[in-house]
Symmetry: C2
Subunit: 152 residues, 2 copies
């Protein structure tokens, strides 16, 4: 965890980073997304320190991205699942995968493939405009201050 907190900045990027910007958090999200939901399983899959894992899980639950649920009462056992807020964060992971596949995969090719339910094909995500439906990239837009911009 960095000392400077991003949560108070008037920037949606900074505020998103406040939630999942710390090391390991996106990988925890990925694991929960693919079905690794128990503490020990996460710890072994990631090779993360148990202490840091406990901290991150607590944080992500507090932020409403994950939910901690008891799936057995005797013995008490828990698992972590995605909330709606968390599922929508996974979109971010898809975009990371796309960039990582393009720029870091190298000769061996992408480590994972995505099959889209709607068409059944292996594909990747593309960004489109919510209004006109055309492709939309960082170079295709102007950024202007919005209502929540800091005064001054």
């Amino acid at each position: 965890m960095q000392r400077t907190r991003f949560g108070d900045m008037a920037c949606s990027i900074a505020r998103t980073l406040d939630v999942i910007g710390e090391p390991w958090s996106p990988l925890i999200l990925r694991d929960v997304y693919v079905g690794i939901t128990r503490f020990d399983a996460l710890q072994q899959d990631l090779g993360i320190s148990r202490k840091v894992l406990a901290e991150r899980l607590k944080w992500l639950v507090e932020k409403g991205v994950l939910a901690r649920q008891q799936y057995s009462s005797r013995p008490p056992r828990h698992e972590y699942t995605l909330t709606t807020k968390g599922e929508e964060l996974c979109d971010l992971l898809l975009v990371m995968v796309r960039w990582g596949d393009r720029w870091t995969a190298g000769e061996a090719g992408p480590p994972a493939l995505h099959r889209h339910h709607a068409c059944g094909e292996f594909s990747h995500v593309e960004l489109h405009c919510s209004v006109c439906g055309q492709p939309m990239h960082a170079t295709d837009i102007d950024v202007v201050p919005g209502p929540g911009a800091a005064a001054g």
Copy 2:
């Protein structure tokens, strides 16, 4: 910088995080994207420590996301600009903005708006399938091992 490096993992998310996963890096990228390209300007805008800023810039240049260019020879002055690789990373920022706007903006509304050049409207990004063009979210896909998956 976390001690555990993500760059060697067989996962495009981890490898993307290796490039921009460290604290501040996405915000540096955002600033360069919106035209804050000089060292001191970045330092003042972000409130980041000069030491960490120097480290991050060096890392991002090494990774080919930013380019360090001289825009004046006498006196020698430099600025940082986005490479193609860096511009494509900005797509990630757009998705962060979208999530942050939805889940963290609150009453005040989003701090920034995006106007799409193609249609001239204020809009946000949506994820679509590269094959069928239909919406594509984390809940709409199956993840299966690809050619670059680690053996074992």
